[in-house]
């Protein structure tokens, strides 16, 4: 389902249990598994990261080869550049 499960495990460890997050998905990358479905990523992460909730304005952004310019000021706190994956944190 995910290009790399490490991003989900990292997100579970970093985002507080009652925190919120957003999911931003860009184009499929050459290294992604054929089973990784960009259209289902948000749904899967909603399940996996509960009780953390999805919120478009959340401080945490799970970026799957996303356009980082859409999140000005957000800094990566974890990154897998080979797969285009990152966890971004907006400034408070």
């Amino acid at each position: 389902m995910l290009p790399d499960q490490a991003i989900a495990i990292e997100a579970r460890g970093r985002i507080p249990a009652h925190g919120t997050f957003a999911v931003a998905v860009g184009p499929r990358q050459p290294g992604w598994s054929v089973l990784a479905d960009p259209g289902s990523l948000e749904n899967y992460l909603r399940y996996f990261l509960l009780p953390r909730r999805i919120d478009p304005g959340a401080p945490w952004i799970l970026c799957f080869a996303c356009d980082r310019a859409a999140f000005p000021g957000a800094q990566p706190v974890w990154e897998d550049s080979a797969e285009g994956l990152a966890i971004l944190r907006r400034p408070p």
Binding site: S40, N43, R46, L50, P51
Partner: protein, 446 residues
């Protein structure tokens, strides 16, 4: 997975069984310890359905779901059964179930041993299964997690997941399992679905015991467990199998009620159908098919009681319907009826039902049993089972015709007809023993 999680889950499921048995006792379903043992599986399903229906209504009115609430609700349900039994003068006497003559004991023992072997293997698998099915992680388990973490119907999640109109009974059971396990352990959660299978087999065997010879009882019950489609999906954390077993056992109860008019059977069937109608959208259709068939084949003097049961099922559905209407969630009924799709939908439903690769020979054997019972056996029973089956079949055709977005294909990513057909296959497994035994006994009601 921990021993504590398994122990908690076992305690919860034993509590469901005790609640159901209390309710059955209050309905005067048994008078001896032997009969109590025979109805333990049915008691489990009744307790689980009653708990789910009660909490569906409680969540809709905003009662928080938590450990204390679970325990109190189970105690209240059990007390209702015990008090009702006391008021009606029910007593439990000594007595073991009659097993039959020596050869029949051996057949029963073989059937129980084979079922036990399979269920033991299934338990080992259920302890370590990961959650893979799309529907399970897309909406079934997230809803259960949301009830567990947020103590109720979190509108931000319940209004935005796929299939938002699905009722919450299965997620309620998931959330109760999480509380019993001490955490949202989605691996051990599969064991909850194992308990449902054990309860379903116990319920069917207990109800059919004494009404059909063991050599007719066990082969269909064992076959339905291992047909290819169920063999790989029995433990999927979704509502499909729960709906199938609730409806099939309710249909069996009504078939027996048509013979002996025992009021407790009708009441228990109503509880199970209410549970099914609060498990999935098509549960309402399934309940309507079962009750309508019972109306058609029963004598008019029994209609008032059937009407009462039907009203009870209808009332049980109302809370969730009110909640979805209040939150502008579509009811999920087919939006159109394109007559050009009827031919393709009929062929699809027929091909799926008689697919050996999915259900082995069970539907074919059931069809032969139905025809044989109509000719040489209990015609009223054959009429009832036939009407239920035709109703369910027509519902499947309607869903394919009525949802233009559904492809006319057995591919489960494009059309749910395979999942839908499971209800007919479970019905076949519980009906075949009754149908064939009526032929064996040449139409005499056992």
């Amino acid at each position: 997975m921990t021993e504590r999680a398994l122990a908690g889950l076992a305690a919860l499921n034993v509590a469901y069984a005790l609640v159901g048995l209390s309710l059955l006792w209050g309905l005067r379903a048994f008078r001896t310890w032997g009969a109590l043992l025979r109805l333990a599986g049915l008691g489990y399903l009744v307790g689980l359905a009653a708990f789910g229906v009660l909490w569906t209504a409680l969540l809709v009115v905003g009662v928080p779901f938590g450990g204390i609430g679970i325990v109190v609700s189970l105690l209240v349900l059990a007390a209702a059964g015990v008090v009702s039994g006391r008021l009606r003068g029910c007593r439990l006497e000594r007595g073991l179930p009659r097993i039959g003559g020596t050869p029949m004991v051996l057949v029963s023992a073989a059937g129980i041993a084979l079922a036990g072997l399979f269920l033991e293997a299934l338990f080992r698998a259920s302890r370590l299964l990961s959650l893979q099915e799309y529907d399970a992680w897309a909406f079934w388990v997230p809803k259960g997690k949301a009830i567990y973490f947020f103590d109720g119907l979190d509108t931000r999640l319940f209004t935005t997941t796929p299939n938002a109109s699905y009722p919450p009974l299965q997620p309620i059971l998931d959330a109760a399992a999480f509380h019993a396990m001490g955490g949202a352990d989605v691996v051990t959660l599969h064991v909850q679905f194992w308990f449902v299978i054990v309860g379903a087999i116990g319920a069917a065997a207990g109800l059919l015991h004494g009404r059909t010879p063991p050599w007719l009882l066990w082969p269909p019950l064992l076959l339905v467990l291992v047909v290819p489609r169920f063999g790989e999906r029995l433990l999927a954390p979704q509502g499909d199998v729960l709906l199938d077993v609730l409806v099939a056992v309710a249909a069996l109860l009504l078939a027996l009620w048509l013979r002996d008019a025992a009021g407790w059977r009708l009441a228990a069937a109503a509880v199970l159908l209410a549970g099914g109608a609060n498990t999935k959208r098509e549960g309402i259709l399934f309940a309507a098919c079962v009750l309508a068939a019972a109306f058609v084949v029963s004598r008019p003097r029994r209609w008032p009681r059937l009407l009462g049961a039907s009203l009870a099922v209808g009332l049980a559905v109302l809370p969730w319907r009110i909640w979805t209407a209040r939150h502008d969630i579509s009811s999920g009924t087919p939006p159109s009826f394109d007559t050009g799709r009827i031919g393709g939908a009929l062929r699809l439903s027929f091909d799926v039902l008689y697919s050996n690769a999915r259900w082995s020979v069970l539907p074919l054997v059931a069809t032969i049993a139905l025809v044989a019972a109509a000719v040489w056996g209990d015609r009223r029973l054959a009429g009832y089972v036939g009407l239920v089956a035709v109703g369910l079949f027509a519902g499947g055709v309607w869903s394919t015709v009525g949802f233009p977005d559904l492809a006319i294909t057995a591919d489960e990513s494009g059309n749910p007809i395979v999942r839908y057909t499971g209800s007919m296959v479970f019905l076949a497994a519980v009906a075949v023993p009754l149908l064939l035994s009526s032929v064996w006994r040449k139409g005499d009601e056992p």
